[in-house]
């Protein structure tokens, strides 16, 4: 049994089988049983994912426990992370997610954390702009000019006093950005389709790494 599972053909067969059940009902009319398999596969994905989170959780706790027992520098931070996560899990499954203790933890750490990181992005974009927006070559100059026009159009102050930036700004937003998004979409979609085909043919490198591992043992 174990030798079958270790073979790459077996895993490839699963990938191909799943792909077939997903693609075929999308393009042609199929009996209800086939589309039932299709929706079962789609429903199964989050279930597998949700079980996998426990593996991640376990490895995290183990990592922090090892660090704490070895007393590496700042081990107490890691221990705090581990204990915090454990407390949240215990609270979540005992008193529930609507209990004051649970919302206390999320409102004190997670909600402000999310909002803060999102707000920090503007700092990083500013310093990136200061670093990159230089007339170094044609590409970076174009990058800068387009951004310049957009800023002048977007800021209420400059839009009011310098209205001639509105037209080009609007045009850049509605047409240039749209054309680029379109081409990006084409390019990525074609890449995606070919990748899907290569995956089914067993040629995708990342997954081959996954499959070939046991052969060399």
């Amino acid at each position: 049994m174990s030798s079958i599972i270790k073979r790459q053909e077996f895993l490839l067969a699963i990938i191909v089988l799943c792909s077939v059940f997903i693609y075929v009902p999308y393009f042609v009319q199929v009996p209800a049983q086939v589309s039932a398999v299709e929706s079962w596969l789609i429903n199964t994905m989050p279930i597998i994912s949700a079980t996998a989170v426990w593996v991640g959780f376990y490895t995290l706790l183990r990592r922090q426990a090892v660090r704490a027992s070895r007393r590496v520098r700042g081990w107490y931070y890691g221990l705090m992370m581990g204990i915090m996560s454990l407390v949240v899990v215990v609270l979540g499954f005992t008193v529930g997610t609507n209990h004051d203790a649970f919302t206390f933890l999320t409102n004190s750490f997670v909600i402000p954390g999310d909002a803060t990181i999102y707000a920090l992005l503007v700092f990083f974009l500013t310093s990136a702009a200061a670093r990159t927006f230089k007339v170094r070559d044609i590409e970076s100059s174009l990058l800068m000019i387009a951004a310049f026009v957009m800023f002048m159009y977007q800021a209420p102050l400059t839009e009011y006093y310098l209205p001639f930036f509105s037209q080009p700004g609007l045009w850049l937003q509605n047409n240039l950005a749209m054309a680029a998004t379109r081409v990006f979409g084409f390019s990525a979609a074609l890449g995606g389709i070919v990748l899907a085909i290569r995956l089914v043919l067993g040629k995708e490198m990342g997954m081959i790494g996954l499959i070939r591992r046991k052969e060399k043992e």
């Binding site: 500013t126 990159t132 230089k134 007339v135 070559d137 310049f148 800023f151 209420p156 937003q173």
Partner: protein, 291 residues
């Protein structure tokens, strides 16, 4: 070291400090720089303002904590404005698990508890009372699948219970909501991409007009919808929120932040110009690869 060289190699911490100063000072002392109202927002205001007695509005809160700060201005002005229209029936829904928090938040901010009531959902806002003029249908998980299901069979998917377990069957009958066709306007507050679902399933099937308020990252996509006339009006990000607050008279944080909003963008432009001058006069070989 020349001044130019100094500027072009300035530590980024100074940039950050400048940014904080230019945000905090105008926030605490708004000066009221001029603001030009865009056509997108003007149209949103007019559409809401033109609602008549008997119209039914579906408001979707596609709002999550990460993007809330960008759309809270439009929520806190558009929703109260909507509530001032006499005889208009309002249904709230959300396709985000935390969306209900923000629905309650906007109502609690400007509204008051109804006489003799102490808990959710019994709040009144601008004279509209819960289960008389508005209801909260709750959370519909499943993104586009959920909206498609609502469009196909509205009553079947809503059921007869609201988010709090009250019976709303009679209310829906009285409001004349038999199917998705009976909805006269959809307002969606987007931190994700709910507008495209409403375009696909509500506008394309029933021609329901849609107003969308969204975070700026999604603006490009929504403008495409607007140009194709699939969406009647847009309220784009903080800027649009400020315009709506200005139009509707519900002044608030978004309008206050507009000064800082202008100043920071102009500051950035000036800084880029200065660094370029500095760069020009202190040119050094470019390091690293292409950007």
């Amino acid at each position: 070291m020349s001044i130019f060289k100094k500027i072009s190699t300035l530590d980024r911490k100074w940039w950050y400090l400048l940014l904080i100063i230019f945000v905090v000072v105008p926030l605490l002392n708004p000066i009221g720089l001029p603001l030009k109202v865009s056509a997108y927002t003007k149209e949103a205001y007019n559409t809401v303002d033109a609602l008549k007695t008997g119209d039914v509005v579906l408001v979707n809160f596609d709002v999550a904590s990460s993007g809330y700060d960008e759309v809270k201005g439009s929520i806190s002005s558009m929703i109260p404005h909507l509530f001032t229209k006499p005889g208009v029936k309002i249904m709230f829904m959300t396709d985000q698990d935390q969306g209900y928090i923000y629905i309650q938040k906007v109502i609690a901010e400007r509204g008051t508890l109804m006489a003799g009531k102490t808990t959710w959902p019994w709040y009144q806002l601008e004279g509209k009372q819960y289960l008389v003029d508005y209801v909260n249908l709750g959370y519909f998980p499943g993104a586009d699948k959920a909206i498609a299901a609502l469009a196909n069979d509205f009553r079947g998917n809503v059921g007869n219970k609201d988010f709090y377990g009250n019976n709303i069957g009679q209310w829906l009958d009285d409001a004349g909501v038999k199917s998705a066709k009976d909805i006269d306007l959809v307002i969606t507050i987007d931190c994700g991409g709910a507008v495209s679902y409403f375009v696909n399933y509500f506008y394309l099937q029933y021609g329901t007009p849609i107003i969308c308020s969204m975070i700026s990252v999604s603006a490009a996509g929504a403008i495409t919808n607007y140009s194709a006339k699939q969406v009647v009006a847009l309220v784009i990000s903080t800027r649009g929120s400020a315009e709506y607050q200005y139009l509707s008279g519900y002044f608030g944080e978004a309008l206050i932040s507009m000064d800082a909003f202008s100043i920071v963008q102009v500051l950035l432009v000036i800084l880029v110009i200065i660094t370029n001058i500095a760069f020009y006069f202190s040119r050094e070989p470019p390091k690293g690869g292409k950007p």
